[in-house]
């Protein structure tokens, strides 16, 4: 058999195999990656105004806890998320609703009446009554929920992703 001056049979087959193999690898590999990271890409946001009781039932000047649950479908099951907030009502009936989720790493803070502070048990973060950071590692003040009052009932805007 005459030898080709440019490309041997072996070289030709090698490059065809490499090319075909690469295509097959990509065709199989990309779906596999997509399959694994799929839940990270499916972000669905939902929001709702959730009633948290009569405004009059909250004492003036003291952050008062309120808890409720929200369910959402995640994968093959319903997940029940417990959400707890602190409602701070002032003398002019202005309301601030703080999330109890510590802005550091997501533990739940509790309000301590003796020191008038929110304290996170995980890394000893202290927040004042207005949610501002007093001491500890949190990068920002406590998050707040948007709120409104309708017919004496307090509602907060819960956005879930």
């Amino acid at each position: 058999m005459a030898r080709s001056p440019n490309l041997s049979r072996r070289g030709f087959i090698m490059s065809v195999m490499t090319f075909a193999g690469s295509i097959m690898g990509i065709v199989v590999g990309l779906p596999v990656i997509g399959f694994l990271i799929s839940p990270a890409l499916n972000v669905t946001k939902s929001d709702a105004w959730v009633p948290v009781g009569k405004l009059d039932s909250y004492p003036v000047g003291v952050p008062t806890p309120f808890s409720f649950t929200r369910t959402k479908v995640n994968g093959w099951e319903k997940t029940v998320n417990s959400i707890s907030v602190f409602v701070l009502r002032d003398a002019t009936d202005k309301v601030r609703v703080f999330s109890s989720v510590c802005t550091h790493l997501g533990c739940r803070v509790t309000f301590h009446k003796d020191s008038n502070e929110f304290i996170c048990p995980c890394h000893d973060a202290h927040f004042n009554k207005d949610g501002g950071v007093v001491s500890g590692p949190p990068p920002r003040p406590l998050d707040q929920y948007e709120s409104k009052v309708e017919n004496g009932a307090l509602l907060i805007h819960v956005i879930q992703s």
């Binding site: 779906p31 596999v32 997509g34 399959f35 694994l36 799929s38 890409l41 994968g75 093959w76 099951e77």
Partner: protein, 220 residues
């Protein structure tokens, strides 16, 4: 791509060209396309391993979640239909290629001296492949899976004397239950794969060590 200077360095330490020569550059007689069925089966097995590992990221082997988790794989996860489809059809195809591979070896009398152990491991590989099919069939936990396993385990229960014991051992109790699903799942992803990989190791070692038989000729 390993550079021209990198390769000799690695080869000296890992013996790559020795492996290449032994495994891929070995002498083979002139054969035909029926001799590709073993490689085809090996490829399908690798495909089953990869897609099976992927499916285990979402599948839940519990009676109240198995069906829902598969619905999620099919409708909620990107390319879930593809990964499960490959696993489903790959399984069917693998049983076919394994069987044809056996028939080729049988009709070409390639099971004879000195390849008896290759044949024996092959027989156990066939049984293990069928075991994979049987245990995998229950995992979707739908009506077809449930009743197929009811029937399959009942057949095993007809063995004289010890049938009742075999039935209970397979089902993990006298009835099909969550225990059955859990042990079938365990068998499907751990026990059978471990057996199959070990046997494939011996099988392929022997194929490489002894070499493959040629197509029988008139005077053989």
């Amino acid at each position: 791509m390993i550079s021209k200077r990198m390769y000799p360095w690695l080869d000296e330490r890992l013996g790559l060209s020795g492996i290449y020569k032994t495994v891929l550059d070995r002498m083979v007689p002139k054969v035909n396309w029926w001799f590709t069925l073993g490689s085809a089966t090996l490829f399908l097995f690798a495909l089953q391993v990869v897609t099976g590992i992927m499916l285990s990221a979402y599948y839940v082997p519990s009676p109240d979640k198995a069906y829902d988790s598969i619905q999620y794989i099919m409708n909620g996860v990107a390319f879930g239909w593809l990964i499960r489809g490959i696993h489903h059809w790959g399984a069917t195809l693998m049983v076919i290629t394994v069987f044809l591979h056996m028939l080729r070896v049988f009709f070409y009398a390639a099971y004879k001296y000195p390849r008896e152990i290759t044949w024996t491991t092959g027989v156990f590989l066939l049984l293990a492949t069928l075991g994979m099919g049987f245990t995998g069939y229950l995992l979707p936990w739908d009506q077809k899976a449930y009743w197929a396993t009811t029937v399959g385990t009942s057949i095993a229960g007809t063995v004289p004397g010890i049938g009742e014991f075999i039935l209970r051992a397979l089902r993990g109790g006298s009835d099909l239950s969550g225990v059955t699903l859990a042990r079938f799942f365990s068998a499907h992803i751990w026990m059978f794969p471990a057996i199959i990989i070990a046997l494939i190791g011996v099988h392929i070692y022997l194929v490489i060590r002894i070499g493959i038989s040629s197509v029988p000729k008139e005077n053989d």
